[in-house]
């Protein structure tokens, strides 16, 4: 039988990328997102200790990352107010998603579009598409109804579709 540590490491290897992607929505950088994942796992470890010590269900971890992210966001907002002169620059390589194929123009456009979705829509898309959660699980994580979760997902796909069409038309027009 696997030790708890082995089970958790295996679980981390399977789910780390999707947790990181979700955490990106609550962080300024990849590094901050990884810290957020680590904090959530620490909280989950103590939480699961009373339930046999095994790895947790994904919806609960998403929810915990969101909670930790909210806390960080609040303290970050306060810090930013104090340090208004600081300029935040995006690292060129610091992307949320990697295209599976090289030179996949559509995928790269959608990657930007996903990052630019509103927080509400992006959370649902990430949890549904890359997290593999059902609308019911998403609704429990975000404390919304399953219908609202499904509506947000459909609306997000419409926005992504619209953005893809717009960018492609612009590029063809300028070519």
């Amino acid at each position: 039988m696997n030790s708890p540590a082995s089970a958790w490491k295996q679980w981390l290897a399977e789910n780390g990328p999707r947790l990181l992607l979700f955490a990106r929505g609550w962080s300024n950088s990849r590094h901050d997102a990884e810290d957020l994942v680590q904090e959530a796992i620490l909280r989950m470890w103590h939480h699961q200790a009373e339930k046999g010590g095994g790895p947790p269900d994904l919806p609960l971890v998403f929810s915990t990352i969101r909670f930790c992210g909210l806390n960080h966001h609040r303290s970050e907002s306060r810090r930013r107010k104090r340090e208004e002169s600081v300029i935040y620059l995006n690292d060129f390589q610091d992307v949320w998603l990697d295209p599976v194929l090289e030179e996949d123009e559509e995928a790269v456009i959608l990657r930007e579009a996903v990052q630019n979705l509103s927080q509400k829509l992006r959370e649902v898309v990430v949890m549904k598409f890359w997290g593999g959660l059902t609308f019911l699980q998403i609704s429990e994580t975000l404390a919304i109804s399953p219908n609202t979760a499904a509506s947000r997902y459909r609306y997000a796909l419409e926005q992504l579709s619209h953005e893809l069409r717009r960018v492609k038309e612009d590029r063809h027009a300028s070519a």
């Binding site: 490491k9 990884e34 995928a107 959608l110």
Partner: protein
């Protein structure tokens, strides 16, 4: 089955990147630290170490027995059993040669709430009391073994 939206088909060509090696290492180190020593590093007591078991078991029994003696909160009174047994022994011509009371197993039952709202930790004990008695007339010795289950409630003073 519903056909995927064309956008979903493109989204499927995007994958979330893995955690960086540093982050993966840090989290795994944290898990190791939280988990403590691996189970395989813990040395089990082999069958040949029965003496150690007896000594350790006796120590536990003695400790729990001492708790029985000083704690008013356990269910199932041992004193009552002794009080009933002794007159029978004295009237039947039987002499108590030796007695023992050992704990066979102990299970942590978690927390329980008292009627006054205070928290108690419950331990379920399987104990065996053995009395070796001798019949004065015939000289025969008889071993009387009585298994019982008790719940020990201990006040929780620290969280």
């Amino acid at each position: 089955m519903q056909a995927p939206d064309p956008i979903e088909t493109i989204l499927a060509r995007l994958m979330p990147p893995a955690l960086s090696q540093d982050a993966q290492f840090e989290i795994e180190a944290m898990i190791d630290e939280l988990a403590g020593p691996e189970a395989e590093n813990v040395v089990g007591i082999s069958a040949g170490r029965w003496l150690a078991r007896v000594v350790i078991g006796g120590g536990i029994a003695a400790a729990v027995g001492a708790m029985f003696a000083i704690s008013p909160v356990f269910k199932g009174s041992r004193e009552q059993q002794v009080a009933v047994a002794s007159p029978v022994l004295s009237n039947s011509g039987l002499v108590l040669v030796s007695e023992s009371d050992r704990i066979e197993s102990m299970t942590d039952e978690g927390w329980q709430e008292n009627p006054d709202g205070s928290a108690m930790r419950a331990l379920r004990l399987n104990a065996v009391e053995e009395n070796n008695v001798r019949d004065e007339e015939t000289g025969m010795e008889v071993l009387i073994s009585e298994a019982r289950e008790e719940i020990l409630l201990m006040p929780i003073s620290a969280f």
